[in-house]
């Protein structure tokens, strides 16, 4: 993953990062390469590279988030940008203001970059209609979470000693859990297949959505079959608000039937790794012993979030190549 240290001059093909959908392979490679440069900066004692000095990054979190928000905030600060924070708890949304009116108001602070997380799909895309800055989707409903997929791809490349150009050819990844309701799964299916990985998705049939074929992934309703021969198992969080919906039996049954138990972990290839976007439900989708094992990349993923988000902010601030709308 180590790069020659020079930051690229060009940006992405898109003016915004609304999803992996819409990015080209070269866009993805560019983000991952640039992230490599920033990772080197992060490894130094003085972790600043103030290339975005004078820029303002608005962090609009319409949905609670700890790690993604912190990760973006640290990324922006290490690049020397000013940040404005906005969260739903302190907004006027509860007073009935429309999303676009909120966007119009925030636009008066003229941020050059807007990071938006929202519980409804498409909210960041809608903000692009009223805001002039580049919009980064930090997770929108069940749609996409592109920076999570980019940091997951970065983590896999790093672990398997590949460059972004070499990609993930020959690497077999199983994504397990609530694929239907997961923005992480959607972004990862797109990013990992784009980089050449063989992607399997697994979960109870209630959690496998229509239209999986378009992603070029193989669905499994038997998690043991899905784990056969995989190099990486990506376990998705079972969201507490889904418990009670008719999607699965009890959390204990979910763990037995679809979780990464110690027993399943032992049956994986000896060099296989386990991932999780966090926050983890110990004992539901993943056994505590597995989460804390040396072959768990969970903390590595969190750490890599910072250079990947620095890369995204930096590249979007550079402006879009080709000026596509």
């Amino acid at each position: 993953m180590h790069q020659d240290g020079a930051l690229p001059r060009g940006g992405l093909s898109q003016p915004h990062l609304l999803g992996i959908d819409g990015l080209s392979l070269s866009d993805v490679q560019l983000v991952l390469q640039t992230a490599g440069v920033f990772a080197d900066v992060n490894a130094q004692a003085k972790k600043k590279l103030p290339v975005l000095r004078g820029h303002t990054v608005a962090l609009l979190f319409f949905e609670p988030s700890t790690r993604t928000r912190t990760s973006f905030e640290v990324a922006a600060k290490r690049l020397g940008a000013d940040t404005i924070s906005f969260s739903a708890a302190t907004s006027s949304l509860s007073k009935g203001e429309t999303l676009l009116d909120t966007g119009r108001n925030l636009e008066t602070t003229a941020p050059s970059l807007v990071v938006a997380r929202h519980k409804e799909a498409g909210a960041p895309a809608m903000l692009t209609r009223v805001m002039n800055g580049a919009v980064v989707n930090a997770g929108d409903g069940q749609h996409e979470h592109p920076t999570q997929a980019l940091l997951d791809a970065y983590t896999l490349l790093e672990h398997f000693g590949r460059t972004p150009v070499q990609g993930l050819e020959g690497i077999r990844v199983a994504i397990v859990g609530d694929i239907a309701h997961s923005r992480v799964a959607r972004s990862n299916m797109l990013a990992l297949t784009m980089l050449g990985a063989e992607v399997r998705v697994a979960g109870p049939r209630t959690m496998l959505p229509a239209g999986l074929a378009q992603y070029g992934v193989t669905p499994f309703d038997d998690v043991d079959a899905a784990f056969e021969g995989v190099d990486a198992a990506m376990m998705l969080r079972i969201q507490s608000e889904r418990i009670g919906e008719p999607l699965f039996g009890s959390p204990a049954e979910y763990h037995r039937a679809f979780g990464m138990t110690v027993d399943r972990f032992r049956k994986l290839k000896p060099e296989a790794v386990v991932m999780h976007p966090g926050p983890i439900n110990r004992g539901v989708e993943i056994a505590p012993e597995v989460a804390d094992d040396a072959r768990s990349l969970i903390l590595r993923q969190a750490k890599n979030g910072i250079p990947v988000r620095m890369a995204v902010l930096y590249l979007l601030a550079m402006g879009a190549r080709g000026g596509q709308a």
């Binding site: 999303l99 959505p209 229509a210």
Partner: protein, 420 residues
């Protein structure tokens, strides 16, 4: 009394004639020589069934007089608005009041009221259908509220059949995909939006068809948006069951590719949602058949209802002024429909449904007419829409037909500026 002649008028069947109007009726229909190029298209005035009315209750979005004038502007000579205003039309006084208010609007379409199926559209107690029918209600509906209880549906159908009136019900099974805002499938999954499976429509229609057969009621199902749905209704009709399919105009000229191009554009938040092209194909093939009626799908929504997240946006589009020109003109993806098919689905079939013969375009016919002219492609702009109503899904897209004049019983109720 108005005397008027439409010269070189193309009729929906393709003939070119001079059509004379006298004393509110068609007086003469004289064929022109075969070489004569038509000056415009003369169609029977359209009848819009299931129009969403906002007055009383949400009159800031559209008042009753505005709605009737918009209808005339779009070529509709009569509208059958839903009863679901606030308060709802669920008693004799409400029906009479609505008729009285509408009758004072002389430059608009006529109004034929629907009554609520249940008191307050609450889905609990049957409304006074017998009395409302006597006061002039032409049918009964709780739309857009879905009647959940099959038992109540059955009793409502029986009661309405006794009142000799049709019932209008939705085509989506309650409780299966209530949060759905897109068609379930590839696009819905990619956009991360909750989908509605085709089964939600077919399961509902299967139930409604069986209840229609059981009760002998006349049941208008819609808006219908899927191929299997419309086929099921046509099959049931072939078996002699008195069911009708109602299709919204936009579902004949837009498919979900438009939503893929304009992702999360809430002007495309419609109920039912836009479908894959294969369904649009099947719906278009059904237009022109008996028992299939096309309505404008008019459901105006204020900006506050649309400037929010897609799944939270209110469904609907302001369609009365443009439905006919859009159906004739088509869109980038779909060609316009034939005038004969439109006249059948928007005038003849709804007329037959309500027991009212539309203008036959023959001497003696009541002169409820719309005159359209072809124009160079021009975009739908705010001029076509009421100021403040930004929720037209095809705003800025081109149409090639424009309504020039609308006549009700021979009287002009709309003339486009510049029309002769």
């Amino acid at each position: 009394m108005t005397q008027h002649v439409f010269r070189r008028a193309m009729l929906p069947d393709g003939r070119v004639c001079d059509v004379g109007i006298a004393d509110g009726r068609i007086d003469t229909v004289r064929p022109c020589s075969p070489k004569v190029a038509p000056a415009g298209l003369l169609m029977p005035g359209l009848l819009d069934v299931g129009t969403h009315l906002r007055d009383p209750g949400r009159a800031h979005e559209e008042t009753l007089p505005m709605m009737l004038r918009q209808a005339a502007r779009g070529g509709f000579t009569a509208v059958v608005p839903l009863a679901s205003t606030q308060p709802v039309v669920d008693g004799v006084d409400d029906v009479e009041h609505r008729i009285a208010r509408a009758s004072r609007v002389e430059d608009g379409a006529a109004l034929l009221p629907l009554g609520a199926l249940t008191t307050d559209c609450a889905g609990a107690q049957l409304s006074d259908m017998m009395s409302m029918a006597g006061a002039g209600a032409v049918g009964f509906s709780d739309l857009p509220t879905r009647v959940k209880s099959p038992r109540l549906l059955r009793r409502a159908m029986e009661y309405a059949a006794g009142a000799r009136r049709p019932v209008f019900v939705d085509a989506r099974l309650p409780g299966l995909a209530d949060d759905g805002v897109v068609a379930e499938g590839d696009l819905g999954t990619r956009l991360g939006l909750p989908g509605v499976p085709v089964a939600a429509e077919t399961a509902r229609i299967a139930l409604l068809v069986d209840l229609a057969a059981l009760t002998g009621a006349r049941v208008v199902i819609g808006p219908v948006a899927t191929a299997a749905g419309v086929h099921a209704i046509l099959d049931a009709r072939a078996r002699g069951i008195d069911v009708w399919a109602r299709i919204d105009a936009l579902h004949l000229v837009l498919d979900e590719r438009e939503l893929d191009r304009r992702r999360y554009d809430t002007r495309l938040r419609l109920d039912p949602p836009l479908q894959p092209a294969v369904h649009v194909e099947a719906l278009r093939a059904a237009v022109g058949k008996d028992g299939v009626l096309v309505s404008s799908g008019h459901r105006p929504v204020s900006p506050e209802g649309k400037e929010v997240e897609f799944a939270r946006a209110e469904p609907g589009a302001a369609m009365l002024t443009t439905a006919l020109s859009v159906l004739l003109s088509g869109t980038a993806a779909w060609k316009g429909l034939a005038p004969a098919a439109i006249a059948h689905a928007c005038a003849t079939v709804p007329g037959a449904l309500l027991g009212r013969a539309p203008c036959a375009l023959a001497p003696g016919g009541v002169a409820d007419l719309v005159w359209l002219e072809q124009c160079p492609p021009r975009p739908i702009t705010d001029v076509d829409l009421r100021p403040g109503m930004c929720n037209h899904p095809l705003r800025k897209q081109n149409v090639t037909w424009g309504v020039m004049q609308t006549l009700r019983a021979g009287e002009l109720v709309y003339t486009r500026a510049g029309a002769s």
